[in-house]
Subunit: 136 residues, 2 copies
DNA sequence: TTCGTTGCAAACATTTTGCAGTTTC
DNA sequence: GAAACTGCAAAATGTTTGCAACGAA
């Protein structure tokens, strides 16, 4: 059976997350979807985000200035967080060494189910802006 | 010149942080210090934590269930966060490979100033509790 | 009709802040 | 006395939730 034609907010939210690399906050999701779905409510965004997390469809990858950021990419990867523009980028190329993960499991003594690695700094774009500001 | 004898809240808060491995929240700091400093206010705790962060004396190591957790240990190290009891533990023994850090710097294109690695799971203590609960 | 989904607004929890009083030097 | 620090309470921020209305099957 075909999914209903009628627009379901839940699907829209998940689609949005699956089609972005920006690691958006609930607020960003809301703001971006609102023009498309005028009667969308923040409560719905939060409720569905909570649901998706429970279902393992998305994960919370960071909290930047007190705001939770989400990612629909399920395989573990490394993030870079910019202190200036608050962007959260993927560092796909980086792979955590297997031996390192094993060592972690070994020494924590408990059960590890997730691993979150974030580098913080100034992204390329903001570095350039800073530089041109200084030289001016 | 000797530091004043008079009790300064700021010092007490920093001392507290330097003498714990628990990665406490603002609330925990407040609750633990309150009996010792009865007229301590939450505002003071928050204000000083913000200050310490700016000065680089402490850092925010994680946000667990929406609550920020602090650490006065400045050298970068790995953390383990328990999903059951919300404990944040150090994994001192683990050292991130130098080559890995270099690769990160390389591929992010910007400037890295910090790196935060956290494993999430169930700590030894809570694993035991779960086990004894199941077998009972 | 039944159950899941949602809008709305109120409630909540955490953190920040303005102001006036206090402490430090 | 000037400047820094703090208590208090109010405000701001981000998130959750109760309830009634709505939608899908």
């Amino acid at each position: 059976m075909q999914p209903t034609k009628h627009f379901r907010k839940r699907d829209a939210i998940l689609d949005y997350l699956r089609n972005t690399k920006a690691h958006p906050s609930a607020e960003t999701i809301f703001t971006d979807l609102k023009p498309v779905i005028p009667d969308l409510a923040m409560g719905t965004v939060y409720r569905n985000l909570t649901l998706f997390k429970e279902q393992g469809l998305i994960s919370s990858v960071a909290t930047v200035r007190g705001v939770e950021r989400f990612d629909a990419t399920t395989d573990p990867h490394v993030h870079f967080i910019c202190n200036y523009c608050d962007a959260v980028e993927d560092l796909h190329q980086l792979q955590m060494p297997e031996s390192f993960l094993n060592a972690a499991q070994e020494c924590c003594g408990g059960e590890i189910d997730r691993c979150e690695l974030s580098f913080t700094g100034v992204c390329r774009k903001c570095t350039n802006i800073k530089k041109s500001g200084e030289s001016a």
